[in-house]
């Protein structure tokens, strides 16, 4: 049985990183979080433009994303920074969500409450420094694959994505599940046209119905608009690349989900409650940064990101492994892309071998190997899904 080396948290969850998270509650605390993260070892900041003037469902979504990011086992301790206590989603609400779910240390810094920016910066720095030193005493332990929740994503897709990068990612996902782990397939728009690939593997009729209903919900919005979906899906660059219809794009995308049983249906940023090994499908946006942030908030510790054109996408707390089936993209983008599986298309390696390469990289990264993007401190892909307007 394959194992990986992770940090076992008090609630039994296992992190593949041991970050102190500087979590911004609002746009006005972003810079403070960034500054503290640049000054204190072992810290990372997560910032965003939301948390104020949002309609209720949107505010709930923001809270779910921020709390979920703090709950993710890759985070060992959290410092939440807010500028002013405002009902609806306070730093205290977030601290409550995170600490109740995990028991991990959480501190709150309120800029106004501390007597202004300078005092608040000092206080946040002190909390972060103390947490970082305490976390540095933790050691990695060998844990079974049942502790791993793998995220999968594709972005800047081209013709090679559906033929090499995505099916190889799907084989990696199957290998994780065969060893007792779990994986998430998101980007529900891109199940349109191949729902039966997912419903035929659903562990229960209820899950199959949820899959069909999820896609229908999205398709209804397109139908209600009176527009042909061809105006936006596939995108213009997809068509130049040779993708003809949404069905074709979907099939390539769903290949990342491999062939394992679908054992759960999740809402955006919703964490699986069960520990049953298998594939969990997530209703969620096609927007890349929102999609991967949604999977990080659901508890994914590692993400495999398949890309045709090459990519820089990397989540601040969830190591993001990039894979391409396009040799030219690998040549241009190897600063941030880990693996080249273009040999599949030249008949040099099998899809199974490419899947094993990705699986081996997942185990190495879960056990501490830095991704290329982590090494370059290029964590650029935190974004919160919007369901309403700013008011």
């Amino acid at each position: 049985m394959t194992e990986f080396m992770g940090y076992v948290r008090p609630n039994g969850a296992v992190g593949v990183r041991n970050h102190v998270l500087l979590l911004s509650g609002t746009v006005y605390a972003n810079k403070l979080c960034d500054k503290v993260a640049s000054m204190v070892a072992g810290t990372v900041s997560v910032t965003h433009p939301l948390g104020r003037c949002q309609v209720r469902p949107d505010l709930r979504m923001t809270r779910r994303f921020l709390a979920g990011t703090g709950i993710n086992p890759n985070v060992g301790a959290v410092v939440i920074v807010d500028h002013f206590r405002e009902d609806g989603m306070t730093a205290e609400d977030l601290a409550h969500d995170i600490s109740e779910a995990t028991g991990k240390p959480v501190a709150v810094v309120n800029i106004r409450g501390e007597g202004g920016l300078i005092h608040a910066t000092e206080q946040a720095m002190r909390y972060a420094a103390n947490f970082a030193r305490a976390l540095s005493d933790m050691r990695r332990e060998s844990v079974p694959m049942s502790k791993l929740l793998l995220g999968t994503e594709c972005g800047t897709s081209d013709t090679t994505s559906g033929l090499a990068g995505n099916p190889a990612t799907g084989i990696c996902s199957d290998l994780v599940i065969a060893e007792g782990g779990r994986a998430i397939l998101a980007e529900c728009t891109e199940w349109m046209g191949c729902e039966e690939w997912l419903t035929s593997r659903a562990a229960s009729p209820a899950i199959a119905e949820q899959i069909v209903a999820g896609v229908k919900h999205i398709e209804q919005r397109a139908l209600a608009s009176g527009e042909d979906i061809r105006g936006s899906q596939p995108t213009g660059d997809n068509m130049v690349g040779g993708l003809t219809t949404i069905e074709e794009k979907s099939m390539g995308a769903v290949k990342k989900g491999g062939s394992a049983p679908v054992v759960g249906y999740l809402d955006v940023a919703e964490s699986p409650t069960g520990t049953t090994p298998g594939l969990y499908v997530m209703y969620g946006p096609g927007h890349g940064a929102e999609s991967i942030s949604s999977m990080a908030a659901a508890g994914c510790q590692v993400l495999v990101f398949s890309t045709g054109g090459g990519h820089t996408s990397s989540h601040p707390i969830m190591p993001t492994i990039k894979v391409t089936g396009n040799a030219e993209s690998f040549r241009l983008m190897s600063d941030t892309v880990e693996l080249d599986v273009s040999g599949v298309l030249r008949g040099e390696i099998t899809l199974e071998q490419a899947g094993q390469m990705i699986f081996d990289e997942v185990i190495a990264v879960a056990s501490g190997r830095l991704t290329k993007s982590e090494t370059l401190k290029d964590d650029n892909s935190f974004a919160i899904h919007r369901v309403g307007i700013s008011i």
Binding site: M192, G226, G242, T244, E247, E248, L345
Partner: protein, 100 residues
């Protein structure tokens, strides 16, 4: 001989994933089907699809073993298969609006 990639045995299109293919060239196959040849009736750019068999107007164009859309016109083996001769069957708000 240049080759196109075929995902499933039942597919009636292959994808150009090597060098671009010129009209008149004989093309072989790679992937799940390795014994087919077809003469290209048009230039097939990198990443684009070529018909491996005749596909009559209204019939399904198949890749990954499933329909990726319907033929808008009679497609001959060797034709370039793309948005000029295939239409999506899904998300067609334009058709829903016509029906209303």
């Amino acid at each position: 001989m240049k080759k196109v990639f075929v995902v499933e045995k039942s597919d009636n299109v292959g994808t150009a994933v090597g060098e671009p293919i010129g009209a008149g060239e004989t093309v072989g196959t790679e992937g799940r089907v390795t014994d087919r040849t077809v003469v290209a009736r048009a230039d097939i750019p990198y990443g684009h699809k070529i018909a491996l068999a005749d596909i009559p107007k209204g019939a399904q164009v198949t890749k990954y073993g499933l329909s990726i859309g319907s033929a808008l016109a009679d497609i001959k083996a060797g034709d370039h298969v793309h948005i000029h001769n295939v239409e999506s069957n899904r998300g067609r708000g334009d058709k829903a609006a016509q029906a209303r």
